[in-house]
């Protein structure tokens, strides 16, 4: 009985029932508006794609003149960078080596400290202190690179010359130390994120088997988070390789590969410093100008490659956690 009443009661409402999505014939304006709006938003979002494509296109375009006239092999394998000589030589090996040298040396300092600090923040310390320490580390990241360069030239270089007795204070060691400090916040925050994301079960299982905290961290946590940590290190590398102001001021700009390769107290020159230093004085459109853009292309390629690597490791880390 009530069932039928209900049906009758429902019917008038059902007759007035309309689906929420209106067909174009019913609300043309709304249809166009929402789809047009979406299309506009889509194109605006594609601005970042546009930006990346433009960057690659324009930098490669300006480098084109050099790449077609001069031998790429010489560019990559010779060390003589004499762009303004009577017969210009564009051997960028010393520059590429300089960038790599300084970056790897900086990792030498920053990776151990960074991972230890990340472990400290994620495992060893309570939430309250963590909330206190994390801003301090973010503060390190906020300091502009010019300030670091300032410190490197006016404080660290004289210190190296006077107290450590180096013949020159602006050298690879100086640049590496400062780059290490600059890469630390990146390494710490990404590594700490991956280590924290592991969750408690893994650690509790290890503790329940009788391991101490150190053994848990070294034996379980770090191996489990290894993809994330590698990604963190790679991101730190990207930061170090792309840094300009600090190396321009602190590395001495001698376009050489240090003679005993482990002698870090010698002066080197990086790709970024070459571009920053030489660009102001080159005639636009000359070979030197294109050569500098080619160095820029090298930089782009290297950072792009590092980006892909870090992306790969980050997705692996996410997959390992089952997300």
């Amino acid at each position: 009985m009530s069932q039928r009443k209900l049906n009758i009661a429902l019917e008038p409402a059902a007759a007035k029932y309309r689906p929420l999505a209106l067909t174009p014939s019913e609300d043309l304006k709304g249809y166009i508006a929402s789809h047009l709006g979406r299309a506009i938003l889509f194109f605006i979002t594609c601005s970042s794609v546009l930006a990346v494509l433009l960057i690659f296109f324009f930098v490669i375009r300006e480098a084109f003149g050099f790449l077609t006239h001069f031998s790429l092999l010489e560019f990559l394998t010779k060390t003589g960078w004499y762009p303004e000589a009577q017969e210009p030589k564009f051997g960028a090996l010393a520059l590429i080596a300089g960038s790599v040298y300084v970056t790897v040396a900086s990792l030498f300092f920053s990776v151990p400290v960074g991972i230890l600090a990340a472990v400290f923040l994620s495992d060893i310390v309570s939430f309250k202190i963590r909330g206190f320490v994390k801003p301090v580390i973010e503060l390190l990241a906020a300091i502009p690179s010019v300030a670091y360069g300032f410190f490197a030239v006016l404080v660290l270089a004289p210190f190296m010359q006077k107290k450590l007795g180096f013949p020159t204070g602006t050298n690879a060691l100086n640049a590496s130390v400062i780059l290490a400090v600059m890469a630390l916040p990146t390494i710490i925050s990404v590594a700490e994120d991956s280590i924290s994301a592991l969750g408690r079960e893994l650690r509790e299982a290890s503790y329940s088997l009788g391991a101490t905290r150190m053994e848990t961290i070294f034996g379980v946590v770090i191996p489990a988070a290894h993809s994330g940590i590698i990604a963190a290190v790679v991101l730190g590398m990207m930061r170090a390789i792309g840094e300009t102001m600090v190396v321009w001021m602190a590395s001495g700009n001698a376009s050489q590969i240090p003679h005993p390769w482990w002698d870090i107290s010698q002066s080197v020159r990086t790709m970024t410093a070459t571009i920053a230093g030489d660009m102001g004085e080159t005639v636009k459109g000359s070979d030197h100008y294109s050569a500098l853009f080619s160095v820029g292309v090298m930089l782009l390629i290297m950072t792009f490659f590092l980006n892909l690597v870090s992306e790969y490791f980050l997705t692996r880390a996410k997959k390992a956690l089952g997300k």
């Binding site: 004499y82 762009p83 010359q161 001698a254 050489q256 080159t282 005639v283 636009k284």
Partner: protein, 272 residues
Amino acid sequence: MRKIIYCLTAIMLLAGSSVSAETLQLEGSTTVGPIADAFAEYFKSIYPDLQITVKKTGSGDGAAALVDGRCDIANMSRFMKAKEFEKAVTNGIFPVAHVVAMDGVCVVVHPSNPVKKLTKAQVRDIYMGKVRNWSQVGGANMPIVVVSRDTSSGTYETFHGLVMEKKEMAPHVEYVNANPQAHARVRTTRGAIGYVGLGFVDSSVKALEIDGIMPSRKTIASGVYPVTRPLYMFTNGYPKLGSMIHKFCTFYLTERGQELVEEKGFVPLTNY
């Protein structure tokens, strides 16, 4: 937050209506820079409405700026190269050189260095990397820290031409971008050797005798010092008489101008 953005946008849009004041743009050599600065300061005291900008990034940059039409006067411590002339003519710019002073490129070391003189050949060997320790040229047992100007500097060109005799420098040579930087490096590094214009030699660095001749006003003016060069200001064509550029470019001919040149440590052209 929004209000701040609105206010600033309004200010910027208002600022978009530019006020026209006479401007004079100089770019180029860090050696000639101090002379241009001194002239500019003097001019500003006579013509307070005049806005003078002096950019000091290197002779090559000055030439590039003049060729592109971005500056009125290019300060250069070397003559324009053939390539620069060609580009200028293609752009419709006809560079005219004005020699405002004479300069000598002085080889300097730290004051604590016992070495007082070197021959040109010795300096060349140091910069080519054949000599790596001060003891090989009569100094203390210290490695030599070789400092050079970057390759688009006019000072570098002069040094490269007259001392290096166009030979390449060794790869371990450190490069700095400007005269003051070279001066600072030599002043703070005990084993350093570098070269700067005469105007940058003061009591905190020691100039060496080259081939037995000490760089000074007298030896440079008479041409006896081997590494001498004129300092140029280039303009586009000869500046119109009575224009500000003309006044600036002929200021060095007046006694006051020559005094300023001498005050800055360079060698004035005339015995005013």
